[in-house]
């Protein structure tokens, strides 16, 4: 069957299979201006797949370590799966799944990101100047995510390591089922903070609407102070505010399956 040329999400002509469902492999556009170890290109007229191919060419083939992408236009799945140490700057906003599954890069996004930014990130740094959508840092394994605006619901859901630092407010169920790692939230937290968390630490600078099941206040130690001061100084965020600390109450570790009537008998 023949390939079709259809508009992709942002209205640019992209090649799809005959059913119009799967975007076909593209040729690398090779439009970046490279000077030494730095390169930059304009993504305005490229499809999502072309942008990611160009990024990978620069990082893996051309040995570029500092890439600037102009006009990303809030498209989805940009900068995903980059597994090398490099510096990437997006001048603008990303859509869903931005910078997912990366291992190593230092990414700077001057706009905002949509849902599920940096999901399953292994290591590296992502700094977001604007706001972030829900599920930011879902299943994060390592590295730092810094959001200078506010984020939506369930940030750090299923987090397994790394640090999420948020200067603004967060929505409901932040840190839902997190298993390891840290979240430093300077603003206010929505309802259900740390619901069903297994382990890890959540620091909140503002008010907490309500804590979730089995999330309890933790005891402050010098290590907490050291961590927060270190992170604030690395990212040049000034003096940290005063934080409350929340950890897992470990009440859900053991499954209590007794019916109320059975419990009466046992006791």
């Amino acid at each position: 069957m023949d390939a079709l040329t259809l508009d992709d999400a942002s209205g640019r002509g992209a090649r799809f299979d005959a059913r119009g469902l799967v975007e076909l492999d593209e040729t690398v556009p090779r439009i970046a201006e490279i000077s030494g170890h730095a390169a930059s290109f304009d993504a305005h007229d490229l499809t999502t797949r072309q942008i990611n191919l160009e990024l990978r060419r620069l990082v893996y083939e051309e040995g570029v370590t500092d890439v600037t992408v102009r006009n990303p236009g809030a498209r989805h799945s940009l900068g995903v799966g980059i597994l090398a140490r490099c510096r990437i700057t997006f001048e603008g906003s990303l859509g869903y799944f931005g910078c997912g599954m990366i291992d190593g890069p230092e990414v700077h996004i001057t706009g905002r990101v949509g849902w599920s930014a940096c999901e399953n990130m292994m290591s590296g740094v992502v700094v977001i100047d604007g706001n972030a959508g829900s599920l930011t840092g879902a299943a994060l394994r390592g590295g730092d995510i810094v959001v200078k605006g506010r984020v939506g619901a369930r940030s750090g859901i299923d987090q397994k390591g790394g640090t999420i630092l948020i200067l603004g407010d967060v929505g409901s169920m932040t840190g839902f089922m997190m298993q390891r790692g840290r979240q430093i939230i300077c603003g206010n937290a929505g309802p259900g903070l740390g619901d069903s968390m297994y382990d890890g630490v959540i620091y909140v600078g503002g008010s907490v609407k309500s804590v979730g099941i089995d999330c309890v206040p933790g005891e402050w130690t010098d290590d907490d102070t050291e961590l927060i001061e270190r992170k604030f100084s690395i990212y040049g965020l000034g003096t940290p505010p005063k934080f409350q600390k929340f950890v897992c109450g470990k009440k859900l570790y053991n499954y209590d399956a007794l019916e109320p009537s059975e419990r009466k008998l046992v006791l």
Partner: protein, 311 residues
């Protein structure tokens, strides 16, 4: 999954290209729902009533018998409109199964709508002084060009791309829903309602009719019911957070306002842009970018939030 979008211009005099802008927004979210596309658009209100109705389904088999049926239904519908006491000022056959008519009518809308719908297979898509609901199968480009929406000027509007999850792929089950029989109110919804049957029975007992088996229709009729009892749009939407179960982000529009409500889990997305000349919102930022070319600040509303803007 479904995608929803809304746009309201701050200077809402009805001179904005809301049809074209909405097509651009919805087309960029085609991947969220390729089954059908719908618009609820508002032009400058007039004294007359604008009626949009469908005589049949887009996917009915089109044969000679069907063509006869459609012609007969149109004749009957026109007779029923007159019988209800309305005067037909203008009438346009947009395609074989869709009619748009301008009516002179002072009576109760329910009376008029019930008269029209007493013709079998005829459904009122919208009734009001400013509202027009346009919905059909296909993506926004196809629907927008088939209904000439590029040249539609208005003050605000909402739209929907549908991925059917619990009811058929046809026009009756496509969004937006008109809040029968309430003038100029329409709703689009992304999500699922879990107490649908309970509310449907309750509202049917109160005398409301449902044109589809889609859970989202409940929201429109629910809000209309509350507003007819004196609630403001915002108050009705706030109450809906208490009384509707499930996951939802929905948009509701009236003649001069556009509101958004999110459920208590914030389970369904919405990105919001509040500019100097317009407020635009959509399930994905990429839709807002389709009408705004420069860098913008956007944010996601939180759980249980209700926000309302007026034109």
């Amino acid at each position: 999954m479904c995608g929803i979008a809304g746009i309201i211009y701050r200077n809402g005099d009805g001179g904005h290209r809301v049809g074209r802008d909405m097509t651009r927004m919805l087309q960029s979210m085609k991947h969220r729902g390729p089954d059908s596309t719908g618009y609820a658009l508002y032009r400058a209100p007039t004294r007359d009533i604008v009626l949009r109705m469908k005589l049949g389904e887009a996917n009915d088999p089109s044969d000679l018998e069907q063509a006869d049926d459609l012609r007969r239904r149109r004749r009957q519908a026109e007779a029923h409109i007159r019988a209800a006491g309305a005067q037909i000022l203008a009438i346009e056959q947009i395609n074989p199964y869709t009619i748009s008519a301008t009516l002179g009518y002072e009576g109760e809308l329910k009376h008029l709508a019930d008269h029209v719908e007493s013709v079998p297979h005829v459904e009122v898509l919208s009734l009001g002084h400013a509202l027009e609901i346009i919905k059909d199968l296909g993506d926004a480009k196809a629907v927008g060009s088939a209904y000439h929406l590029d040249d539609y000027f208005g003050s605000h509007g909402i739209g929907h791309v549908r991925m059917a999850t619990e009811s058929d792929v046809d026009i009756a089950n496509a969004h937006p829903y008109w809040a029968y029989p309430f003038s100029d109110v329409a709703v689009v919804h992304n999500g699922q309602l879990t107490n649908y049957h309970q509310w449907r029975r309750r509202l049917e007992r109160a005398g409301h009719r449902f044109a589809s088996a889609c859970d989202s229709e409940i929201i429109a009729v629910y809000l209309a019911e509350r507003m007819s009892q004196g609630d403001s749009l915002e108050a009705a939407m706030r109450q809906s957070l208490e009384e509707l179960d499930g996951v939802f982000t929905y948009l509701c529009v009236t003649e001069d306002a556009l509101g958004v409500a999110k459920d208590e889990l914030a389970a369904k997305p919405l990105v919001l842009y509040e500019g100097e000349d317009m407020v635009a919102m959509a399930s994905e930022e990429i839709a807002i970018r389709a009408v705004i070319d420069h860098e913008i600040d956007t944010y996601d509303p939180y759980e249980s939030e209700v926000l309302v803007w007026t034109r």
